[in-house]
């Protein structure tokens, strides 16, 4: 009997269960009245229809609000993820951000931030030059045109070594830390930059065909850069050893004696002197990088140099892209 009354089309929703039950109850109640009163029946029909429409409107309104709330949650979650990434990036750049979220202080001083900005600008320009080179190669440009672009890129490399040399005087630890590079690049870092012998190893396969003379030349270059890298690494180790020894040595004596203080200050002065030689190592490492690139350029034809420079750029681009993916990865 309950189902005999006219019912609006209500989808099976949780909230509608209650209403359906209500409907049935109401319908039963209405049907219980005297069905012979036709005019009252007609009014009741209208009323029923109106009530049903009201219910429908209310249901739609509830759904809309629910949907709007979910949307808001989603966009907030997205914003939160973005903010977390920015915070992560800022922290990695050595900017101290206290957990209470007030002002940011630069831990490296102006030198570090200046260099980071200069480096970002340098990368942009390099991207532009590389794109130009890629277009020229794809368009089968002549050697003359390629030479000009290649020379420009080589000169641009000179520029970054110059910038690094200046930065080393200001803040050698920032350069050594590699915080100005992306995480994946930092993984492969040697004395504040890329390892020349590794770079040559990556390139050799992509540069074929090479003449006998070129193969010998590149082989010698690989060996030379490896030897120079080893020599510089050994010097660095000696420096670390020496520094550790300086800081460890101390005379045992009664606390507060003037002799101890003089000793301590003497040790610190010596340690300071040793730290001061660090920038020399970065400078020679960069010198090695620069010389290796130039020698490579000398050994190769213009076209081969173009391919080499594109390959080098692609390699580092991929490392940087890998870093971005890594930083954006979903975490538990």
């Amino acid at each position: 009997m309950a189902d005999g009354s006219p019912r609006t089309d209500i989808s099976s929703d949780d909230t509608d269960e209650k209403n359906q039950r209500f409907d049935r109850g109401k319908s039963t109640a209405i049907v219980a009245y005297d069905s012979s009163d036709r005019s009252k029946d007609k009014t009741d029909q209208k009323t029923l229809r109106r009530l049903a429409q009201n219910r429908e409107a209310a249901r739609k309104s509830r759904l809309r609000k629910k949907y709007a709330y979910v949307q808001q949650l989603e966009s907030s979650r997205l914003k939160l993820t973005q903010l977390e990434q920015e915070l992560q990036r800022a922290r990695q750049q050595g900017i101290f951000i206290s957990s209470s979220g007030d002002q940011a202080h630069s831990s490296g001083g102006n030198g570090a931030m200046t260099f980071d900005v200069e480096y970002a600008r340098w990368l942009e320009e390099q991207n532009r030059q590389i794109n130009e080179l890629r277009s020229a190669v794809t368009a089968h440009a002549g050697d003359g045109e390629l030479r000009i672009i290649v020379d420009g890129i080589m000169a641009h490399y000179d520029e970054i070594f110059r910038l690094k040399s200046n930065a080393a005087k200001n803040d050698v630890f920032h350069l050594l830390s590699g915080m100005w590079k992306t995480p994946a690049e930092r993984c492969f870092m040697w004395l504040g930059g890329f390892r020349p012998s590794e770079l040559l190893k990556l390139l050799v396969n992509q540069l074929e065909p090479l003449t006998e003379q070129q193969l010998t030349g590149i082989g010698n270059l690989q060996q030379s850069s490896q030897q120079a890298e080893d020599a510089l690494s050994q010097g660095m180790e000696a420096l670390q050893q020496s520094l550790a020894e300086t800081l460890c040595s101390g005379s045992l004596g009664s606390a507060g004696s003037s002799g101890n203080v003089a000793n301590y200050m003497g040790q610190m002065a010596m340690a300071m002197g040793k730290l001061g030689t660090l920038d020399g190592f970065i400078r020679q490492a960069d010198n090695l990088r620069q010389q290796t690139l130039q020698q490579m350029n000398r050994l190769l034809t213009t076209r081969q140099s173009a391919r080499a420079l594109l390959a080098i750029h692609d390699y580092f681009s991929r490392l940087r892209a890998l870093s971005s993916l890594w930083l954006a990865r979903p975490r538990e």
């Binding site: 030379s224 030897q227 020599a231």
Partner: protein, 102 residues
């Protein structure tokens, strides 16, 4: 200067260093790796060390150590040695001065 020249001409490869200088350690390592046995003179252990350092600076050696001489000729400091090594001329200079044979 005389002392520098005198010492520089006594052996095919001569390097002036300071005992505390770690870059000198690097350049020494490189020479040993190449099979050369350079004569090492530590300025801080030489009687006329200060004058010698002054003389090296006058030759244009910056920093004054390490200062490398091959066949009695002034080659340069660490920067020059690395550059010459990369383009292959260091090895040739050592061969020419008979400091190494290959």
């Amino acid at each position: 200067m005389d002392r520098v020249r005198e010492l520089a001409s006594k052996k095919a490869a001569v390097i002036f260093t300071k005992s505390s200088c770690c870059m000198c350690h690097s350049i020494k390592s490189l020479f040993y790796e190449l099979g050369a046995s350079p004569a090492i003179h530590e300025l801080d252990h030489e009687a006329s060390g200060r004058e010698m350092e002054w003389a090296l600076r006058n030759l244009g050696c910056t920093p004054s150590v390490p200062a490398v001489f091959i066949g009695g000729r002034f080659i340069g400091s660490a920067k020059d040695v690395i550059s010459y090594h990369v383009d292959g001329s260091l090895k040739q200079m050592l061969i020419d001065a008979k400091a190494i044979w290959f």
